[in-house]
Amino acid sequence: MNQPDAYLWEQHIPGGCHWSGILRRGTTLRMTDVSGGANASVLFFNQEEKLERYNMADTLKSQHTFRLTKGHACHSDMGRIFCCITADSAGWHDTVCGLSDADLIRRKYGTARYQEHRNQMFRNGLDGMLIELGKWGLGMRDVVSNINFFSKVTANSAGELTFHSGNSKAGDHVDLSFEMDTLVVLSAAPHPLDPSTTYQPGAVNLAAFATPSSAIAECAHISENQRARQNTECLYACHGGAA
């Protein structure tokens, strides 16, 4: 699947760090949990019109799911698909718990500043996201409900949440096959509900390769995804001339 001639680039993101970049349609991003227990908080924006962005509600309700895994698509707020999850060895990705922030990290783990700890300093999910958003002229107004890849959170019948440690093992990976030209913003700080008492966010490895033709059908078993894909194709018909 990941053939050498299709391989495009690779980027290592140490735990706690952040990244952003454009993934073109027809490209697959493989995120790998390097050592287990990583958390990759991610937002998606239409590269051409960044008012169009990942929409948690539309993603969940159109697929009648609370978790994301292989076969699900990540929907925009404009009725389109950013990407399909075409491979997933972790099995569950959280979409509702949002990001850690400076206050949460300080209360859970204490303070570790750059001055004393250099790049081992404690970073938080929101600030990593804001730094990357700032590179594209975006900011706090653009922080909406994000996906927390590799993290599993379940809800009981009363709606109470439980974080499941160990959901993702070393080497687990998830493939996102992009159908839109997408700005991906990623922050690899701990999940806000991770009960770990030591600050040790896992590293995430990113690798991009040309989407194999076999991956296209992965999300098509959900009719809502087929319609969202039709809407997405309209965007690129006539070289972007349609709505």
């Binding site: 009648h64 799911t65 909406v144 949440l161 319609r227």
Partner: protein
């Protein structure tokens, strides 16, 4: 009703008399509604005919970058449903409102608002021209003075609350929209912990069976801060 949903403790009735309210308005089915609710005031939404979804957002009335945050509300309370005692948090981690009474028992934080575009995905491509909640939000942003003064746009529309809506989640990760939690006259009441702009779309959804394909009006009431009233 969902068989797993038996949380009677959350049913708390209000002590406030509608005759004493400083705001008492009806929002017809399918229309937006905007109002500033001041810190300390009590705000009630009444589901007049039952099973109406009331899509609601809150903004800090003086700094709209601060707004209701579904993820902060969910993760800080480790719970996806709202009822009496629930706090509605902002994206800055501040409590915007606290639910102080609730005769419905459960309100949704996950389902978001319908839009022309999402209707094409969820129901059929030809549903695009139908009226939607995001149309209501955008109409309000373009016309309501409270919204125009805040300078907010589509960019400032995050995941909203759906009052009276039941969106149960299973431990296996399933999610569905079901009816039966609300009924005529059920209400939810909250105390504002800061000055907020309330932005409501009284949902016009005609495709979802949970309202029997029949959007209905709601009643909105506001009472002045009861602690201040005791001094007068």
């Amino acid at each position: 009703m969902n068989a797993n949903f038996k949380n009677k403790k959350s049913f708390v009735e209000s002590m406030f008399d509608p005759d004493a309210a400083v705001v008492d308005e009806i929002c017809p089915a399918g229309e937006p509604w905007v109002k500033i609710v001041r810190e300390g005031q009590i705000f009630r939404i009444v589901d007049l005919e039952g099973n109406q979804a009331v899509d609601t957002l809150f903004y800090n009335a003086s700094h709209a970058v601060e707004r209701y945050s579904a993820t902060d509300t969910i993760r800080r309370q480790k719970k996806i449903y709202l009822t009496t005692g629930s706090k509605l948090y902002s994206n800055y981690g501040n409590v915007m409102l606290t639910i102080v009474a609730d005769t419905c028992g459960r309100h949704d934080t996950l389902g978001g608002a319908c839009a022309a575009e999402s209707n094409t995905v969820r129901y059929a491509l030809e549903k695009f021209p139908m009226h939607s909640c995001r149309d209501n939000f955008l109409h309000a942003l373009a016309h309501e003075p409270e919204c125009q003064q805040l300078g907010i746009s589509k960019r400032d529309i995050p995941s909203n609350i759906n009052f009276f809506m039941n969106v149960p989640v299973t431990e296996e990760g399933g999610l569905e929209f079901v009816d039966g939690v609300s009924a005529p006259g059920k209400y939810v009441e909250m105390k504002a912990e800061m000055d907020v702009v309330v932005l409501i779309s009284n949902c016009p959804q005609l495709n979802n069976p949970c309202n029997a394909y029949n959007p209905t009006p709601i009643r909105l009431l506001v009472w002045d801060d009861p602690s201040e009233m005791s001094f007068t």
